[in-house]
């Protein structure tokens, strides 16, 4: 089963959504202003919703083939670090508000292009999940773009913090467009998305928003070494701690119903 393309591809999409939801939810109750506390929590809720649909589908694919019982929760709570297929970007720490915003902007802009293509997937379930999620993601892109502009063109301090966030996060953006084995296989099988084709539109959007935010464009970072590995299960040290917290109850009380 670990070699099944549809299963792995769906898990990858689900893991991205879950891990970013988990990160964003850390802000709940601690946001810089009440309205934005609510907004970031909303995004977190949208992402949990996407993750649940995708895990449910992955479980269905698994159960059909293996005849064993996987559920959305067994997939989220009982796999270990090396089995998680999320990209490195989403597991990065929240840092300050600038870092959280920029992470969201990079990811949502990527997810927007991805889901747009995925709507045409030959896999009807993935296409339907993409279509439904796209409405939410459109809002995530708008919200995070507005904040990038606000911080970039706000005060000297907010501009510096955003540049600092850029230094922290840019190295994780390359992985978004570097296909993992199951992404290539998914493309061949007809239900995946051509990632390299998404890159140009992503860069264009980033440049457009960065220009308004008075930040240097993507070309200025052309030489930055890109980190990869998350999608193949080779993560940063962050993920182990995220899972320790996320999975604690299911690990401490195996088999219990909640």
């Amino acid at each position: 089963m670990t070699k099944d393309t549809l299963y792995n591809y769906t898990l990858h999409l689900a893991d991205n959504a879950l891990i970013l939801a988990q990160r964003n939810s850390e802000w709940c109750g601690h946001g810089p202003v009440l309205e934005q506390d609510i907004a970031i929590t909303n995004i977190s809720l949208d992402l949990i919703g996407q993750a649940r649909s995708l895990y449910q589908y992955a479980a269905e694919v698994f159960n059909k083939k293996e005849g064993r019982e996987a559920t959305e929760d067994s997939l989220a709570y009982l796999r270990d670090v090396r089995e998680f297929k999320n990209c490195l970007l989403v597991e990065q720490p929240n840092g300050d508000w600038a870092q959280t915003i920029l992470r969201q902007f990079f990811f949502s802009t990527y997810q927007y292009g991805l889901y747009q293509q995925l709507q045409q997937s030959t896999d009807a379930t993935l296409a339907a999940i993409a279509e439904k999620s796209l409405k939410e993601v459109t809002y995530h892109v708008r919200w995070s773009s507005e904040w990038v502009i606000r911080l970039g063109d706000g005060t000297a301090e907010s501009h510096d913090r955003l540049e600092n966030a850029l230094d922290e996060l840019w190295m994780f953006t390359g992985e978004l467009f570097t296909p993992a084995g199951y992404e290539l296989d998914a493309l061949k099988a007809g239900f995946g998305v051509e990632l390299t084709a998404l890159k140009a539109a992503w860069e264009q959007k980033v440049n457009e928003i960065f220009a308004e935010a008075t930040l240097p464009d993507a070309a200025s970072r052309a030489g930055v070494w890109m980190q990869t590995g998350g999608k193949e299960g080779v993560h940063s040290e962050q993920l182990g701690f995220i899972l320790a917290e996320l999975q604690y109850m299911q690990r401490a009380y195996p088999g219990a119903e909640w």
């Binding site: 879950l18 988990q22 939810s25 850390e26 709940c28 109750g29 601690h30 946001g31 810089p32 202003v33 009440l34 309205e35 934005q36 506390d37 609510i38 929590t41 909303n42 977190s44 809720l45 949990i48 919703g49 993750a51 649940r52 895990y55 959305e72 929760d73 989220a76 709570y77 300050d96 508000w97 502009i149 606000r150 911080l151 063109d153 706000g154 005060t155 301090e157 907010s158 913090r161 917290e245 996320l246 604690y248 109850m249 299911q250 009380y253 219990a256 119903e257 909640w258």
Partner: protein, 319 residues
């Protein structure tokens, strides 16, 4: 018009159950009482996000995680409505937050207790939100219009919160022996603090009498507390759990449950700041506020820049 005449109009309105609205004349003491009470209520919503927020990252299933996250987000929304209601009385959100952080303004003491296990999330929903609802249902009929209207919206969401809390405990009560122990333990720890939420005995409550005259409050602390005990003493049977009070007993004559005396020394100590989490809760709020200062500043500077640019554009177009 003289103050006496204005006051008469005001009291007549209260008498005739006509809501007092922001632009109406009102006695200073009425305004002050409301600002104190509504801002305290708003702060309770915001500080109350912390003990439950603790468990968002550790919620035991994706469904529970989503429900809890949505619930805590609702509390933030309630805080917003209530801060807005305070603003209609001429006190800004910033000012009320400064008062919270300085310790001048209070919030509900219940949130100074720690959430140690997942069952605490259930107990908070069932007992804490359950106690809050009784108070809030009464406040839907309070004399100040914006406060009453905010309460109507809040009550709708709170009853959902109480159900989700009960639902968490229900699942535990049907679970493994460890889950049942966890459930009983949480009920044991949250029961007495929940009773304290209704405040001191009527005979000791300094603000109550005037608030009742002005119809801000419409039931006394002890009346509400009794109502709560009667409700919970029945619901706990459905869970097959018990309440930690040997004196809890149905009284045929009064048609109410009798119950034991609250530990008032503990109550007053937590109010004064000596609860297990008072310091931690206020520190968390101050930290969020202080670390958010540069964000709020950037947003307002950017808004001003944008406005100036748009005005310039308009000038050019006119020229």
């Amino acid at each position: 018009m003289s103050v006496q005449e204005l006051e008469k109009i005001f009291l007549d309105k209260i008498e005739q159950e006509i809501k007092i609205e922001p632009k109406d004349w009102m006695p200073d003491a009425y305004r002050k009482t409301l600002v104190r009470q509504i801002s305290q209520h708003a702060h309770s919503e915001i500080v109350g996000m912390l003990p439950e927020g603790n468990w968002i990252s550790r919620a035991p299933s994706l469904k529970r995680k989503a429900i809890l996250l949505a619930k805590v987000q609702d509390e933030a929304g309630h805080g917003l409505y209530l801060y807005s209601a305070t603003e209609t009385l001429g006190t800004t959100r910033e000012q009320t937050i400064v008062d919270l952080h300085s310790g001048k303004a209070k919030y509900s003491s219940i949130f100074n207790y720690p959430t140690l296990t997942w069952a605490d999330i259930g107990a908070i929903g069932w007992l804490v939100d359950g106690a809050a609802i009784l108070n809030q249902v009464m406040l839907c009929r309070t004399s100040y219009g914006p406060y009453a209207r905010a309460m109507v919206r809040i009550c709708k969401e709170e009853s959902f919160h109480q159900r989700q809390g009960f639902d968490i405990l229900m699942a535990l009560s049907k679970g493994t022996p460890e889950q049942r122990d966890m459930c009983q333990d949480a009920i044991n720890r949250w029961w007495w603090p929940s009773l304290m939420m209704f405040g001191p005995h009527d005979s000791e409550s300094t603000n109550s009498e005037q608030s009742t005259k002005w119809k801000i409050k419409r039931m006394s602390n002890d009346e509400l507390r009794q109502k709560f005990v009667d409700m919970i003493a029945e619901q706990v049977k459905v869970l097959n759990m018990t309440l930690p009070d040997p004196n809890l007993k149905w009284n045929e004559q009064t048609s109410h449950y009798d119950f034991g005396e609250i530990n008032w020394a503990e109550f007053w100590n937590v109010v004064k700041g000596n609860g297990p989490c008072n310091k931690q809760r206020l520190d968390a709020r101050r930290k969020a506020w202080d670390e958010g200062a540069w964000v709020r500043e950037a947003a307002s500077v950017y808004a001003a820049k944008r406005k100036a640019r748009e005005e310039k554009k308009e000038e050019k177009q006119i020229a």
